[in-house]
Symmetry: C2
Subunit: 153 residues, 2 copies
């Protein structure tokens, strides 16, 4: 399936009616992302998610969309600070909604369940700062806890 904004089916699929659509488009625009068909659909799926997700998850949420199109949308969103990308400790790359203004130095703590693989965002637990040796320049920090989540105990 090819996603195009001019497509009638795109409008139907996405309840293309005024306000809601506008605000999603504007949100992308505000972050410097041109709101194309694929990007609007992907963003619509992600914008309300609580935890972290992998490319594979988004593929399941949008089964008609091509893997590489999703991949490129996620990468673009990450580059424009709509998402934050990190490794989940189980060999997978995950994304979560980014609410940082400006620098990413102090994001929140993540928790990956070694049983089910889900990654949780503990948004109220900010990453405690540590001091680095001189001449080491921090760009971002990750704090990852591995263990058993509430659903798997």
């Amino acid at each position: 399936m090819r996603f195009s904004r001019k497509d009638k089916s795109f409008e139907r699929r996405n309840h293309f009616k005024g306000m809601v659509h506008e605000s999603e488009e504007e949100h992308l625009l505000e972050h410097g992302v041109k709101p194309t068909a694929v990007r609007i659909l992907v963003w619509r799926k992600l914008r309300l998610k609580q935890g972290a997700f992998a490319l594979k998850d988004v593929e399941e949420w949008l089964p008609d969309m091509d893997r590489s199109s999703i991949f490129r949308a996620l990468r673009l969103f990450t580059e424009h600070n709509l998402l934050h990308e990190f490794e989940d400790g189980m060999g997978q790359c995950k994304y979560c909604l980014c609410r940082c203004e400006g620098e990413h130095h102090h994001g929140h703590v993540h928790f990956t369940c070694v049983k089910c693989g889900r990654t949780y965002c503990f948004e109220d637990q900010l990453i405690p700062p540590v001091s680095l040796p001189l001449n080491f320049e921090m760009q971002e920090a990750e704090y990852l806890v591995k263990g058993i989540c509430e659903k798997c105990r």
Copy 2:
């Protein structure tokens, strides 16, 4: 090349003489690892390393040894708390010497340079603890800083 402890070339390759060899063997034995030829050679390469390393690094240090043999040695060492395994934030799995007694809850901070890919261990910076929601059971924690290292500035 097949690695065997009975092999004359193994003895020569590895300066198999008394004390040193014994203490390396014993260190493996103390951690419940049977000291085979491959494991002794791998451990001998790792035991004095400062920073973290990837499988690929060990392959370069032991060019005659098979990748999967090294892989299995590293996995075994990790299982027996000789090494600590983690993701370096650049999509690679890295290892560092583990000096934890018992639990891994509070390891040290790691720093990965986004330019050269090297991962440093800041052993004097222990990971500051965070509190988790009830019903989330911690097994281990990782604190990873990404940025530019002293050699790349």
